[in-house]
Amino acid sequence: MSFYPICAEYNDAPLAEQFGSVTEQDVRRALNKNTLGPEDFLALLSPAAVPLIEEMAAKANQLTLQHFGRTIQLFTPLYMANFCTNKCVYCGFNTKNNIPRSQLGPEELEKEAKAIAATGLKQLLILTGDARAKSSPEYIESAVKILRKHFPSVSIEIYAMTEEEYSRLVEVGVDGMTMFQETYNEVLYPELHPAGPKHDYRFRLDAPERACKAGMRVVNIGALLGLDDWRHDALKTGIHAAYLQNEYPEVDIAVSLPRIRTHVGDAFTPKSLVSDTNLVQNMLALRIFLPRCGITISTREAPDFRENILPLGVTRMSAGVSTEVGGHTGDEEEEKVGQFDISDERSVDEMCEVLRKHGYQPVFKDWHPLQEAS
């Protein structure tokens, strides 16, 4: 099985026309259904749904409350390395960018882990650049063994791996995998990823499925909204999530909704600008289409916006974030460059206070490992 042929159909379809021909009646019909199909999801993402955004919000709010309660899961990323062999034109870690590169050794990892654990966080997302030679599967495995001593849940956001490699990471205690397709547009994809292993569209597209097969408990996917027309990627992401949910019902499928922001290096102009209204519409449509799907919002988003969307479908948020390698410890004088600029720089404590103020419980721990850390 593969999502590829399904995705190819969407890539060949006249999506702009399809979005343009949706009527208000179509949107209302989708809103009134209990179980939605892909055509309903498309209707909710269409321009015709914009005037009905408040009605969509009411339904998304009710579904989120029903399935997830008044809770928000908190996690934080740990950047272990920023060596990268890719040339993604929009990314701060692009191999062409002349930035300081580094990788955390065992002792630095332990220090970072302790610093993060001291904030109370229990769910860690580890990231490396895409450089197999530097951040090898063995390096990642040994890092996970260190980190699992401090965190009951460790997820990965790294280069696409084989099923066997994912299985080995599951064995050492990785329980979640995040993979951004960036864009599902197969023509645009190679233009944005001109070199490096990430150039392989299909290997990346099938990576979440390989992670499901390898026994990951949570698989989180997403597109970087703005690289292509956001509606197109939002649609394909939702269809991808639905496909994974149907094929691997034992895996928790989640979707992140990042939109492109600035970074160091050459001036990249996104194909479409994703407004707040656009992002909210995407979140609402996704919640209504896939009521049980996790939705992740990062600190790329501004504090006000993150607070305003709390009732609208989000279930996981990052907090206390640094996108720099060793950003939680280390020498403050040292020059460090993050993958992207964060907008919400609030600490974990501040984030918890904000969540409670809005009537939401910050959830730190949501999994108890069945194998104790080795």
Partner: protein, 258 residues
């Protein structure tokens, strides 16, 4: 009725309302809910228990008098459920366990076969096992054989607040299974809990409807009253309900004529 004691797992309880700990905006409301609802048994997902946490551990909010019912939320197989149950015991959560084995994250429906397997293993290890299952007579019978302390059929898929959609199947379990029947999941309103009790269910477990109410303590109280009212109605023997109309001119009246 003060002598109406609910016997479960070798213990006796006055309340027939079991509550939960998930989905609350703030766990600090849990003691108020326990008090207002009079509930004496509370379920907690081991995956959320964090004994080391300085930032808040759900266990700190569970009143000491409550019977703790750890659950295996997150288990996808019998083996995972068994491991979670053992971990719960090792962490000091006692030997009661609510088995939840769910490998379908779309509908969150329980896997009866894996649940029965886990039940069999854990009862042999001395656990008081309360399995959460579909309202299915065959699964229920296998749970009786496996040594379960009760059968917990769902009223509707978990978290849906859709009510007692499985009413006819739950009725069969009540009639046929010689274990406490605790309706778990799906109950969204006190009137639905009342109906389950009126039918003869031994107890109800309600979490989402209480935890996501604007005033959880008040909703807990409402459920407590509804469960009690339903139980009293069941014990008082309501008049038989006829499934078809009674002809005012009896169909067999002619047999008595002349």
């Amino acid at each position: 009725m003060s002598n109406d004691i609910f016997k479960l797992g070798g213990l006796e309880f006055e309340s027939r309302l079991l509550t939960g700990t998930g989905k609350y905006a703030d766990d600090s409301v849990i003691p108020d809910v326990c008090k207002a609802s009079g509930s004496q048994i509370i379920t907690v997902a081991l995956r959320r228990v964090d004994l080391e946490s300085e930032t808040g551990n759900v266990m700190d909010f569970i009143p000491k008098h409550m019977q703790l019912l750890p659950n295996t939320s997150g288990a996808r197989t019998a083996e995972e459920a068994v491991r979670i149950a053992r971990l719960a015991k090792a962490m000091g959560c006692g030997n009661w366990i609510k088995i939840e084995v769910i490998s379908d994250n779309k509908y969150l429906l329980p896997d009866g076969y894996e649940t029965a397997k886990a039940t069999e293993i854990l009862t042999k290890e001395g656990f008081v096992v309360l399995p959460y299952v579909n309202a299915d007579l065959y699964i229920a019978r296998s749970l009786v054989d496996a040594g379960a302390a009760a059968v917990m059929p769902l009223g509707a898929p978990i978290g849906t607040n859709r009510g007692l959609k499985t009413r006819e199947m739950v009725r069969i379990l009540i009639d046929e299974i010689d274990l406490p029947i605790i309706v778990d999941a799906g109950i969204g309103r006190p009137s639905e809990a009342c109906e389950a009790m009126e039918m003869g269910a031994d107890a109800c477990l309600v979490n989402t409807a209480i935890a996501t109410a604007s005033d959880p303590a008040l909703m807990g109280k409402a459920f407590s009253r509804a469960v009690k009212a339903g139980r009293d109605a069941y014990l008082s023997g309501p008049g038989a309900k006829h499934s078809h109309a009674k002809a005012s001119s009896p169909l067999t009246g002619f047999l008595h004529e002349g």
